[in-house]
């Protein structure tokens, strides 16, 4: 669900980041403005977090509201006592380089509601809902990260198209390592999704996964995504699962070691519908339409 304007206005408050500036560091003709507290970035430019940011409440610690923002987290941590969002991206073309920084303890670690964001090199863990929520965003890229030990999901794509997620580890999340809901044309590659409560990867609309009461959005699901080079092991029920009416997905190179609770590979569509599964290594599947 999108953040409503009224709700946004309650928490996108107060202190624009510029108000927390003390010193600025220059690189060539640009200036990196230091960020020392949570706030909203409402102007395009270059910003750098200079200390651990702690947060309490239900809003977001950092809001990237402007287009064309470059934010260097510089290895620092964003921490919450249990609510809110670590970074909320609503502007377009944000570039966020964590440089091994972390975001922990929020409800949602990172939420992307914008477009064309590039978010790199981070860990989003121990959040009470989801590590990364790509909510209606398109054209964004998330790379080199971990989304672990989140209460529900490592990554949740919802109505999110044409995004790339790569070089990641999605482990020990309560439900899904990655959940693609109503999301299409995404490229997801080079990753592991292990030890998640229901499935390593799930394409569908039921928050309970396949057979969890049936797909909640049959006829309008996640299609034309490309998944390559993934290992999905030791998940509660499924390694990689595609629910009814998620079609035209390409699954290439999923390796599962016959140790997921129900099926390593699962496709609810008859004869896999128009989904292509190949270069598959698994122990169990629910129907003979995956191929090795």
């Amino acid at each position: 669900m999108s953040i409503s304007t009224s709700r946004l206005s309650r928490w996108v408050v107060a202190l624009p980041v510029a108000a927390s500036l003390a010193f600025s560091s220059s690189v060539g003709a640009v200036t990196f403005k230091p960020i020392k507290k949570c706030g909203t970035i409402s102007t395009a430019g270059y910003y750098k977090v200079t200390k651990t940011l702690t947060f309490q409440g239900s809003g977001a610690c950092l809001v990237i509201a402007a287009d064309n923002v470059t934010l260097n987290i510089d290895g620092h941590s964003l921490k919450s006592s249990g609510g809110g969002t670590g970074i909320s991206i609503t502007g377009a073309n944000a570039f966020v380089d964590f440089n091994d920084g972390t975001v922990t303890g929020f409800a949602i670690g990172i939420e992307d509601d914008g477009s064309g964001a590039v978010v790199q090199n981070f860990t989003s863990s121990n959040n009470t809902d989801t590590g990364i929520y790509v909510n209606g965003a398109s054209g964004s890229t998330f790379g080199g990260f971990g989304a672990n030990n989140n209460t529900n999901h490592g990554i949740h794509l919802r109505r999110a198209n044409n995004n790339i997620l790569h070089n990641m580890a999605l482990k020990d999340n309560g439900s899904f390592g990655l959940w693609a809901e109503l999301s299409s044309n995404n490229v997801i590659n080079n990753f592991v999704a292990n030890n998640n409560g229901i499935a390593g990867v799930y394409f569908g609309c039921s928050s309970s996964g396949p057979a969890g009461g049936g797909p909640a959005c049959a006829g309008a699901n996640s299609g034309s995504n490309v998944v390559t080079s993934t290992g999905d092991d030791n998940n509660g029920f499924y390694g990689l699962a595609i629910d009814l009416d998620s079609e035209a997905n390409v699954i290439d190179g999923a390796e599962q070691s016959n140790n997921n609770g129900a099926d390593d590979s699962y496709d609810a569509n008859t004869n896999c519908g128009t989904n292509l599964w190949f270069n598959e290594t698994h122990g169990t599947t629910n129907q003979p339409c995956t191929r090795e």
Partner: protein, 299 residues
């Protein structure tokens, strides 16, 4: 905060029910053996046009002296696996695989890592004139001009490829917006440029590696009146060439960060070079360069 509390409660309730159901299901269903393929690909054994949506596979190597494209993809919705074979030209003519304008949603997949099956010894290895394609898992090398050419191919994704020993450039991104290259991109020992952004905008180069290219590992240039603007180079590993990254005059709003250029076996000109006065609107930061030109704005 995006998730409603009632949704979460419903989810927890459903999950409890689901657990019982699925555990029972798991106990009832015996382990099944590995399955045979059910969706058979259309096998390609010679150069041809693909004008119909579907799943195609090159299972054995194709050797050709064609002067046009060997595999000419003209239809939308084509997935082409080249994992079992590859294409080899005569050393100077033709294009190995061409995605024609109008061929929407093409996926080309080879092996799952760089150094896969070859698309070698053509004039151009792979050319995309459409955009929105996913191109991965093969080696485009020893082509007379270019390994991989994106021409007006907005929104392409390239990953897990090697483009080496091509006559002029490894990967040429020409008048294309929003291409993204990530994961295991190796561009080595090409005649002039490794990666060439040529009137390209909003390209993401993420973790690419280029070495030993004749003039420059990564060239960001202006094509006629079209500048290369707003590209992002992140965490590139560029070494053993006269120039690491070069931004030519007129190209602006590019960002180069966490990029290293080292082990210069050649008489190095610069690891990072920007022809715009004071780098213009380009921003270079957190890089690991030893030779910079100019030093005042490349960091």
């Amino acid at each position: 905060m995006m998730k409603l509390e009632d949704e979460r409660m419903t989810k927890m309730h459903c999950r409890t029910l689901l657990c019982g159901f699925l555990v029972a299901l798991a106990l009832l269903i015996p382990l099944r053996p590995r399955t045979a393929r059910a969706i058979a690909p259309t096998l390609i054994t010679q150069c041809q046009t693909i004008d119909t949506p579907g799943f195609y596979e090159i299972e054995t190597a194709i050797v050709t002296s064609t002067v046009g494209p060997c595999i000419d993809i003209t239809g939308s919705g084509v997935t082409l696996s080249i994992e079992g074979g590859g294409l080899t030209g005569d050393g100077s003519h033709g294009t190995g695989i061409r995605i024609e304008h109008g061929a929407i949603g093409t996926v080309i997949q080879g092996w799952l890592q760089a150094g896969g099956p070859p698309v070698n010894s053509f004039n151009i290895g792979v050319e995309d004139d459409e955009g929105g394609s996913v191109i991965s898992g093969f080696e485009a090398s020893h082509n007379a001009t270019t390994g991989i050419l994106l021409s007006h191919a907005d929104g392409d994704t390239i990953m897990d490829v090697t483009a080496a020993n091509n006559g002029h450039d490894g990967i040429h991104i020409m008048q294309t917006t929003g291409a993204r290259l990530d994961s295991n991109i190796y561009v080595d020992n090409n005649g002039t440029y490794g990666l060439w952004l040529d009137g390209a905008a909003n390209t993401l180069l993420d973790r690419v590696e280029a070495s030993g290219n004749g003039t420059t590992n990564l060239e960001i240039s202006t094509l006629g009146a079209t500048a290369s603007n707003a590209n992002l180079v992140y965490n590139a590993n560029l070494h053993d060439a006269p120039n690491g990254v070069v931004i030519e005059q007129g190209s602006g709003n590019n960002r180069v960060t966490r990029t290293g250029a080292y082990k210069g076996a050649h008489a190095k000109v610069a690891d990072g070079s920007d022809a715009n006065p004071l780098c213009g609107s380009n921003v270079w930061f957190n890089n690991k360069f030893t030779k910079r030109k100019p030093t005042s704005c490349i960091h």
